[in-house]
Symmetry: C2
Subunit: 186 residues, 2 copies
DNA sequence: GTCTATAAAGAGATAGAC
DNA sequence: GTCTATCTCTTTATAGAC
């Protein structure tokens, strides 16, 4: 009883790869159709509100990944903060393909704002930030310093992704992350 | 003898505002026509190669601004490094409208690469980086440390712009820049 | 739930008058 | 150098058969 159709998660994963590479405006339904193997009308059947709906599904998919693989482990009290941070670095290195892939937080917040998508992205950022702040406090930092360093780290991720894409140097992201790790616990 | 038409620099400035807000794919010729007050065919008259040509003109325009108002003053030996850095902060704060406007280095390096534009953006980044490295060495840092801190600072600019756009908090960029200034000279 | 076919609007781009 | 008018292709989206 083979599945006659691609399941929602795999579908979202395929859409995600296109949106993260090309941004919202740069992504066409035709391209999504090619990549997923579903005809355009099938995509509309599964996402009745159209392209916005597809982007939203992608954001929800990534949000779920973020909470499962990054935020969850960040809050795992059974490991010391340094270990948890290091686990996060490994995960994001893989998630961003060593810095060669973009972050939705950047590419989908460009241009005309779709309010609902902005709010979802915002919430993800905020959740990630809160988890980092908690970790930093666990590591002994003051509340204020924990907040500053956590914001700084998330800024560094986004910036390093932009710069690596710009100069096309495959080491930029990883080097930056190693540097940030030292700064975070210094 | 009033000018019958908008001059090249003002035109590029208008195009720039659209491209920086909406990115390459999000910018349509119709919109550029509205914003500049020139009909579409007039735009094509001035940019025969079309949209790519317009984007290229924007990059060249911004590159000129970057060298005049940022890189030049960074290399001005008559001021101490701290003063020069501070001048740069004031300038970029204005250039990015206190962090509310995007950087071309981010928005134009998305999606399908136009090779020529990528190379121009790359050169601008590289020039800016070199000027910062020289300044850092003037401030007494080792060559290696100068390079690391300069890269880190340019990463922080891009990251702070992304995060401010994302969370729509008008203080993010300025706070980040103040923090980075301390890190740079520490 | 997927498909073929098609509609309607918008995109980038060009021709030719003034 | 700018304009009106138009072309062609692609876009988002829908209708209806299977």
């Amino acid at each position: 009883m083979a599945l006659p159709t691609i399941d929602d998660d795999s579908l979202a994963a395929s859409l995600f790869e296109v949106f993260r590479c090309r941004g919202y405006e740069g992504t066409s339904i035709s391209l999504l159709s090619e990549v997923t193997g579903l005809k355009k009308s099938s995509l509309y059947h599964r996402f009745p509100a159209g392209k916005d709906d597809m982007a939203k599904a992608v954001v929800l998919y990534v949000s779920s990944q973020l909470h499962t693989y990054i935020i969850g482990p960040l809050l795992n009290d059974k490991q010391v903060p340094e270990q948890r941070f290091n686990t996060m670095l490994t995960t994001i290195n893989s998630f961003y393909h060593e810095g060669k892939k973009n972050c939705l937080l950047n590419v989908l917040s460009l241009g005309e704002k779709k309010k609902e998508i902005s709010e979802l992205l915002n919430k993800d950022y905020s959740d990630w930030l809160d988890a980092l702040i908690k970790l930093a406090k666990d590591a002994g930092l003051s509340k204020k310093e924990a907040k500053i360093r956590s914001e700084h780290f998330l800024i560094a991720i986004q910036g390093a992704l932009v710069i690596q894409r710009l100069i096309n140097n495959s080491q930029t992201f990883q080097n930056a992350m190693e540097y940030e790790e030292k700064l975070f616990f210094k």
